[in-house]
């Protein structure tokens, strides 16, 4: 894969949900090219199809038609196990509701994607602890999610998304449940990771403050891209990546 290849490319993608005998089109022919190292934001009213688009970009859901190319591979041709592998190796996920497993500690949550891979325990712990340290939670590694604040939980989730060093991170309303201080902290960290390690981010948000920190805002309405707005040049690899 050459460095100039796009991170994600989707070509004329549709997604139709069928409930009973009625079809609900969520995406009606979307084409989009997201460069590697780009920090993109998707905005739109609820029901516009932005989360559906995000899930398709992240290989969580399959398109009804069209092509979805992640890291040079058309994932429409992959079987379930191969898709799982793509999710595990190439994509990280961050959600509004954090989606941490409550009975596991912070560090155990961060370790999960490495467990799926079969990474040896020692390596796994070291890497997870390093990531928790990077989000400022090394001292709270043995706390369970309920013992952490919302901002802290989201930082654990971000550590979990980054522990596999994915090329792409998708985030669905990552700051939706956070106060403005936590929002800023999370955002600062995302921007920093994007800049230092060239990780591609695609963020769905309603928050204008979040949107303004990205390179590009894609607006969606009724399952179609309404407009694209480039905010700043992609400042990738401005620092040597790790």
């Amino acid at each position: 894969m050459s460095r100039s290849a796009p991170g994600v490319q989707i070509i004329d993608v549709t997604k139709v949900y069928r409930v009973g005998h009625i079809d609900y089109p969520a995406l009606r022919g979307v084409s989009l090219r997201i460069e590697r190292g780009e920090l993109t934001c998707i905005m739109g009213p609820s029901g516009s199809g932005k989360s559906t688009l995000l899930n398709i970009i992240g290989a969580l859901d399959r398109a009804t038609s069209g092509r979805v190319i992640i890291g040079g591979v058309d994932i429409r041709k992959l079987n379930e196990d191969q898709l799982a592998l793509v999710r595990n190796r190439q994509v990280g996920f961050v959600y509004q509701s954090f989606n941490l497993i409550q009975r596991l500690t912070a560090i155990e949550n961060v370790e999960l994607p490495l467990i799926a891979r079969g990474t040896p325990e020692k390596v796994r712990k070291d890497r997870s602890l390093k990531l928790l340290g990077a989000v400022g939670l090394a001292s709270k590694r043995n706390k369970r999610p309920l013992e952490l604040s919302g901002g802290e939980q989201q930082r654990v989730a971000i550590a979990r998304a980054l522990v596999t060093q994915p090329a792409l991170v998708i985030a669905d309303e990552p700051t939706g449940n956070l106060d403005s201080k936590s929002t800023r902290e999370v955002l600062d960290y995302v921007v920093e990771v994007n800049r230092t390690s060239g990780t591609t981010f695609v963020i769905v948000t309603h928050n204008q403050e979040v949107a303004e920190r990205t390179h590009r805002i894609i607006s969606i309405r009724d399952g179609l891209i309404e407009k694209e707005q480039h905010l700043q040049r992609i400042d990738m690899y401005s620092k040597p990546s790790e």
């Binding site: 196990d81 799982a84 994607p113």
Partner: protein
């Protein structure tokens, strides 16, 4: 994904819902304990009965006068006497014939009264008659000594004296036959080692005297029974038929081997019956596992969505849930097997046939004989350890499969 991680995550998930896990495990435990205890006790009982009969030997036929009960003729009850010996001996394949006198007696020892049997028999064939019999003290009296006896261990060490020795070698014992007033006295030459009971005889409570002595003292020419030894088990049926031809309904013919096989048929049926009760319990427990797992899968829909989003494959998710089921099965099986051992010994005393039918099978009529020891065959233990695991995995299969097939996007929306 490594096996150790599967186990660790499985154990954590089970600990997260302790009460439910414990209840599920208890279900499995009870099932496997019941199977182990019931099967072990009945096979113990069966083995006890077999051992009892083997003391007589499968190629021994016991012939007794039919008494008044079965004779249809006008003559009074038929009884066997010395003149029957040559014709029994002349039947092909018969090795030996041993006549026996036997009367119930009450024995006075050291101021205590013990009930037993006075048995007149050729003392030199005693070891052949009761396999494995041996002396604890003293010696066998000479076959022609009319005043000496060798006594069962239970007469020398009676239960009424809490097992203390009341009679020693070279001491005298006196006894009364039935309700008669006359008392008979013998010099004890030997005391037998504890033996237990054999078919028709509770050797520990017998007083053995020579055939001649019994004949004189009992003032009767009629034997209680004649033991006919056949050269091999294969010929037992033929000899039995020959005796039947000679005497018709005048005698009762009992063959230890056939009793053994009919008893073992009964006990194996009981084993199967009780074993299937245990299996039903285990089956119900398996439904419990399926139910618990199913609820767990529903409750953890969101968690499954998270795991799949993080790149866990369907087979790995299935493996996680099956591991939880398997842990439940292993813990239930191990605890159940342990509990089964305790239960089997506790049940030992209550699972016995009554001894009222005329012959004693150890324990039933004598407090001195311990209850049958449960028999734990390796196959049985392996079964009660592994069957619950297999059943748990089977029960978890469908819920685990459902978990593995879950749609990620829908699962993540699940509240």
């Amino acid at each position: 994904m490594k096996a150790i991680d599967l186990l660790r995550l499985g154990a954590k998930a089970l600990l997260d819902r302790k009460v439910r896990s414990v209840l599920t495990i208890v279900g499995i435990m009870v099932g496997s304990a019941i199977i182990l205890a019931l099967v072990a006790s009945t096979s113990g009982l069966s083995a006890g009965v077999q051992a009892n009969i083997e003391k007589i030997g499968a190629n021994t036929i016991i012939v007794r006068g039919a008494g008044g009960q079965f004779t249809s003729g006008a003559t009074s009850s038929f009884q066997l006497s010395q003149q029957d010996l040559p014709q029994l001996k002349s039947i092909p394949d018969v090795i030996s014939v041993t006549p026996i006198y036997s009367r119930g007696v009450s024995v006075s020892v050291g101021g205590q009264t013990v009930s037993g049997s006075l048995v007149g028999v050729d003392l030199s064939v005693l070891p052949e008659l009761y396999k494995g019999i041996g002396l604890a003290e003293g010696s066998y009296p000479s076959p022609y000594d009319p005043t000496s006896a060798v006594i069962g261990n239970g007469i020398a060490f009676p239960v009424v004296a809490s097992g203390n020795q009341l009679v020693d070698v070279n001491q005298a014992v006196s006894m009364k036959i039935g309700t008669s007033k006359t008392s008979l006295t013998f010099l004890v030459k030997g005391i037998l080692a504890p033996y237990g009971s054999a078919l028709f005889a509770n050797v520990d409570e017998d007083i053995f005297v020579s055939l001649q002595a019994a004949q004189i003292l009992l003032k009767t020419p009629y034997y209680s029974s004649i033991y006919v030894a056949v050269d091999s088990t294969d010929n037992v049926a033929a000899v039995q038929t020959a005796i039947q031809t000679l005497y018709g309904t005048q005698v009762n013919i009992i063959n230890a081997g056939s009793i053994a096989s009919s008893i073992s048929a009964v006990t194996s049926q009981i084993t199967v019956f009780l074993g299937s009760i245990g299996s039903v319990v285990l089956f119900v427990a398996a439904i419990g596992i399926a139910n618990t797992m199913y609820v767990a899968v529903m409750e953890r829909t969101r968690e499954i969505g998270i795991l799949k989003a993080l790149g866990f494959k369907g087979a790995q998710i299935m493996g996680m849930f099956l591991t939880e089921a398997a842990i439940t099965g292993v813990v239930g099986g191990v605890l159940g097997t342990g509990l089964g051992f305790i239960l089997a010994y506790a049940m030992g005393g209550s699972l016995m046939f009554g001894g009222g039918g005329g012959f004693r099978f150890g324990g039933g009529s004598s407090a001195a004989t311990p209850p049958p020891t449960p028999v734990f065959s390796p196959e049985l233990i392996i079964f009660t350890l592994t069957f619950p695991v297999g059943m748990a995995i089977l029960a978890g299969l469908y819920p685990a499969w459902r978990a593995s097939k879950m749609n990620i996007v829908n699962a993540l929306k699940y509240e």
